[in-house]
Amino acid sequence: MTATTLSSKVEGLIKRPQFRTLFGGVMTGLVGLCALLTVIPLFAVLGFVLVRGIGRFSLTLFTQLPPPPGLSGGGFGNAFIGTLIVVLLGTLIAVPFGVLTAVYLSEFSNISRTQKEVARWVRFGINVLAGVPSIIAGVFAFGLLVTTGIFGYSAAAAGVALAVLMLPTVVRTADEALKIVPQEVRWASVGLGASNYYTILRVVLPAALPSILTGVILAMARAVGDTAALIFTALFSSFWPRGVFEPIATLSVLVYNFATVPFKPQQELAWAASFFLVMIILVASVASRLVIRRQPMR
């Protein structure tokens, strides 16, 4: 870039690197670095979970009980079944509530001004509920069902806590799903003489079903990994599940309990259970992402 040998006429036409070009380059590099630093932990966590967890992976994991302290072998069969039971309970509670709430929000809430106000408040409540920490859902179920002795420490209490956490996701996704059902479908149904409930139950909901299911699966995936809501509602158990009104083992609480004990076999089980949990959740997240059009995760 030496300009000494050039005539003075051309000199002005040569672009010299300026401070702002340099600054732009540096900043671009910095934000690229930010993106890199943000993604590194994902691979660090996934990599370790894969490497430490896959070693113990076999079918016997799902058919055997965790070993007593100091012994090796065994599996997390009871926790696997327990997680299934607890998440299913949560789903059974959250889905009817969530889907019917969404039906109200998207179908019936603009009949009058009051209805619109109600819908606005319900949406607001749901959004704030989405930010409630899972431990608070646990405390709620504990205060409502455990201390009062209604269920005591049990799978049922854990199901209620998980339902609270699943509800916002179910409502939001079902609301979106109902909104994209074309208006003409409703008009056609009403035009043929169908009443409101018939239109919704037999025409609109079936049309929106795939997207609603996607939302439910997403909510279940989050519930599967949740621990804080289960620690003092489901507690833990070293035995096979004995019913929904008894304490029950779950995979996520198993990870928590076994991560902090000084026994190698237990720690290995914790890694294997983590690997299994992460796999389930990643598959569910990726699958639901492929179905739902891109929305910000909130």
Partner: protein, 318 residues
């Protein structure tokens, strides 16, 4: 949207059908209202459980530092955990805000082609899908050993600063805050990115047209334009960090003493609840409920603020 309003009233329907119809509409309304007031119900249930402790300890509970669940000599004060909750969340924000904002700018500008941008956005969102307890496990076995030498060095060379004034023992404020920052990155990045993408393209064109460089435009036009979304996302991240339980409880060391040092074990309200609820009895349960009320109030406040800010942003561009 609704066919309900447009129903021709004159058409004859059987009374049963009308009844079912009305019941259906009413029941969806009822369930929606129930869902809406669930939040208030949750607050009520927890506050109800906190009443005995509130009576016994009053507001001093917030400023005192005793935690003694021995029967007959119970004494509870939540100050160290409250401080630990706030400090760990603030440190997490200090790390996550610049990283998240940088990543959001990187993903909303055209530095790289759209395809890899989509992939990176997706990877960042996957961070949010990893369960908290797995972060905790990873923190215990990977992160703590990894940062131990760094912590040793900080204590050896900068030990005269109170922040690094204690011998690092492994678990403590530092690893917990680091993992918290990783956990709140996805939500902050996603919302900042969306609010940057929601800006009208004319803004950028006008700025560039006046001769501003790309970075000048980002700093002086785009970020100020999207600031409400960025702040809202940060608030949501803060709400997550305040209530984050498993990763915190596995990494922070659960010490109920307040210490200034970041290398010392500490505690947060959420991890206090996770640790003590399973074995709590009597007035201790109530004291924990009291602590839970405080945590709930903090997260609600932060989330409601975030919700209001984000809603205002939506209203602006829709």
């Amino acid at each position: 949207m609704t066919p309900g309003a447009a129903l021709p009233e004159g058409r004859s329907r059987s009374p049963q059908e009308r009844l079912i119809d009305r019941l259906f509409v009413r029941s969806t309304l009822g369930l929606a209202v129930l869902t809406g007031v669930l939040l208030a119900f949750i607050v009520l249930v927890i506050a109800w459980g906190a009443v005995p402790a509130l009576r016994q300890f009053g507001l001093d509970f917030i400023t005192r530092s005793a935690w003694n669940p021995v029967p007959g000599r119970e004494d509870f004060g939540v100050f160290p955990m409250l401080a630990g909750t706030l400090i760990s969340s603030v440190i997490a924000l200090l790390i996550a805000v610049p990283l998240g904002l940088g990543t959001a700018v990187f993903l909303s500008e055209d530095f790289i082609p759209p395809q890899p941008r989509m992939v990176i956005s997706f990877l960042v969102e996957l961070l949010a899908a990893i369960p908290s307890v797995v972060y905790g496990l990873w923190g215990i076995f990977v992160l703590i050993p990894l940062i131990q030498p760094v912590a040793q060095w900080l204590h050896a060379n900068l030990g005269w600063i109170p922040l690094f004034g204690t011998e690092p023992v492994g678990p403590g404020m530092l690893p917990a805050s680091l993992v918290l920052s990783i956990m709140i990155l996805p939500i902050m990045t996603a919302i900042a990115k969306d609010s940057l993408a929601a800006l009208p393209p004319e803004l950028r064109q006008a700025s560039m047209g006046l001769g501003a460089t790309r970075w000048w435009t980002i700093f002086r036009v785009l970020i100020p334009g999207a600031i409400s979304g960025i702040v809202g996302g940060t608030m949501l991240g803060l709400g997550r960090a305040l209530g984050e339980t498993m990763a915190a409880t596995m990494l922070i060391g659960n010490s109920n003493q307040f210490q200034v040092s970041l290398l010392a074990p500490s505690n947060t309200i959420a991890s206090l609840l996770a640790n003590q609820f399973p074995e709590a009895r009597g007035i201790q349960v109530s004291a924990l409920m009291y602590a839970a009320v405080l945590l709930m109030l903090m997260t609600l406040l932060v989330n409601i603020l975030a919700e209001v800010i984000v809603n205002r942003l939506k209203a602006k561009y829709e």
